[in-house]
């Protein structure tokens, strides 16, 4: 089964979620091609994609209309290319989640969202109900449209492949939408979904200054990314893209430290596949302790500075 993978990239660099998506696509069997849709600068990402192990060909669509990954423009490009493929895979990032269902509807295919396993050529596992159940689902559609939970698959090797790069074109600007701006969260830290260690703070952190003063020194000490619960984001302690959970980002670092987070099912859905979970909470009955490998019942305003000092 030949598969087309949508690359997630920022022009120059490939997002690591793309590599996990390649692994999922390869598991279905058959050749894997990567589509890099972008503006003039997308050729750097295409060159990077060509080096990914196991990739046979890279399709490069450079057009100003694709520079911002507007779904109205990218979906028709993908749908037009799908004559040559039996499956389309996109990472379950906000970009992939925006584009893939639009492609699926254009192809009259029922999408499989956020798969975590490949059981057969048309059979996949995916979490439902905030990860409280895992469904095994088989598609009866002629083609597959799939988004992939990156944390559930190993990353394909970024080096070792030598795919050819072929230029393709699509309908271009659909004239429905325009990009106005991106208010990017600036950070020197590792990206949340690919970080090895995450320090996450919840509602208990009081306000943005306290969050910063308490969580940042520990994250700095560990070289960690910073995450948060929905409550901390809603209250404006940190930007929206810090939210870990069912409806935020799904993470699975080597170490996840949950500080002042109760452990609602929606939060657990985003982090319970972390290798080691540490929870610091003053309430011994907080549900977060049911998934924590190491729990410390303490006031975080004493425990976190002490921990930072002793590491």
């Amino acid at each position: 089964m030949s598969a087309l993978v949508l690359a997630e990239h920022d022009g120059g660099k490939l997002n690591p979620a793309t590599l996990a998506t390649v692994t999922a696509a390869a598991a279905v069997g058959g050749p894997v091609h990567i589509l890099v849709a972008g503006g003039d600068d997308a050729s750097a990402a295409a060159d990077e994609a060509a080096k990914v192990a196991g990739v046979e060909k890279v399709l490069l669509a450079s057009d100003a209309a694709y520079a911002r990954q507007l779904a109205e423009n990218v979906a028709p490009l993908v749908a037009g290319l799908m004559d040559g493929y039996e499956a389309f895979f996109a990472p379950a990032t906000t970009t992939g989640k925006n584009i893939a269902p639009r492609v699926a509807a254009m192809l009259d295919v029922m999408q499989l969202s956020d798969i975590i396993g490949v059981e057969g050529p048309k059979t996949f596992t995916r979490p439902i109900y905030a990860g409280n159940a895992i469904a095994t689902v088989e598609s009866s559609d002629a083609k597959l449209v799939i988004t992939v939970r990156a944390t559930a698959f190993d990353k394909a090797a970024a080096e070792g492949g030598s795919a050819s790069v072929e230029a393709v074109s699509g309908p271009g600007d659909a004239g429905l939408s325009t990009f106005v701006g991106l208010d990017a969260t600036e950070s020197e830290r590792p990206e949340l979904t690919s970080a090895g260690i995450i320090v996450s703070g919840g509602r208990a952190l009081k306000d943005s200054a306290t969050f910063e003063a308490t969580i940042t020194p520990l994250a700095d000490k560990l070289g960690a990314a910073i995450g948060a619960s929905r409550a901390a984001v809603d209250a404006g302690y940190v930007p929206n893209d810090y939210q870990v959970g069912q409806t935020g980002k799904i993470v699975a670092p080597e170490l996840y430290i949950a500080i002042g987070i109760s452990g609602a099912i929606q939060h657990l859905a985003g982090m319970k596949d972390s290798k080691v979970i540490v929870a610091i909470n003053k309430d011994p009955d907080a549900p977060i302790f049911q998934v924590a490998d190491l729990g410390l019942v303490a006031d975080l305003f004493d425990a976190v500075p002490e921990l930072t000092g002793k590491l």
Partner: protein
């Protein structure tokens, strides 16, 4: 402008579903059901636009069992003007929901459809994008801010890297994210009033949409349980254990 708001009846977000031991699915009998939280945000946004004089009618629509009438009444108690139930006891996949909604849109001619970004039961996050594709409309997904003008809507989107703003021609689809607004609670007098608001009941066949599922669920199981670990007495022990595990 008329705004159409699709709403879904789902398990209440506070509850954890029980997976049936025979692997056939999730047991929802005797479980509290509520409006999907993202759909509540969608209803709220539509009502606010109406209150601001930017919309003149808000229509809620649900595709589901007879009991989804309760969900529609909740939407009307919040302030929607009328409701449509496309009644079916079958499970309807997002693609089929989008096809039914497309037919409803053809009848109702809304200037905008505002809907939740995902339902908290199947967690698909598809229907809005699919409806936009079927209609050939623009889509502003994962919205945290919506500014409606006469000929365009500017949508701020919650994306992985921060906040993205796009401008969409009308008509358009908007899907809601958590920060868009805080939905109101319906007040008792409004709950009473909602009982008298019009609610039309239709069926998928009225719209000539084939809702045969494309996906077959072979089994549903509980995820592997994560064993609770240990409670450590103090920070020194925590540090020692973390070091012993090689975690830091």
């Amino acid at each position: 402008m008329k705004i159409l708001v699709p709403v879904k009846r789902v398990i209440d977000y506070n509850l954890k579903p029980r997976v049936r031991s025979d692997g056939t699915g999730v047991d929802l009998s005797n479980i509290k059901m509520s409006m999907n939280p993202f759909d509540e945000i969608a209803v709220e946004e539509a009502i606010r636009l109406a209150e601001a004089g930017k919309a003149d009618e808000v229509v809620v629509v649900s595709i589901g069992p007879a009991k989804a009438q309760e969900t529609l009444r909740t939407g009307m108690a919040m302030g929607a003007d009328r409701a449509i139930l496309v009644e079916t006891d079958d499970e309807v996949e997002p693609l089929a929901v989008a096809k039914i909604l497309k037919a409803v849109v053809a009848e109702e001619n809304p200037g905008m459809v505002i809907m939740g970004k995902q339902a908290i039961d199947d967690d698909s996050n598809q229907t809005g994008q699919m409806l936009a594709a079927l209609l050939g409309w623009a889509q502003g997904t994962f919205a945290s801010k919506v500014e409606l003008d006469s000929d365009a809507v500017t949508v701020t989107r919650e994306v992985d890297g921060g906040l993205e703003t796009v401008k969409l021609g009308l008509p358009a689809i908007v899907t809601t994210d958590l920060r868009l607004n805080e939905p109101r609670f319906a007040k008792l007098p409004n709950i009473m009033k909602a009982k008298k608001k019009p609610l039309d009941v239709k069926s998928p066949s009225d719209y000539r949409v084939d809702i045969t599922p494309r996906l077959k669920t072979l089994k549903v199981v509980e995820p592997p349980v994560r064993e609770a670990g240990e409670i450590v007495p103090d920070v020194d022990t925590l540090v020692a254990k973390l070091k012993a595990m090689g975690a830091v």
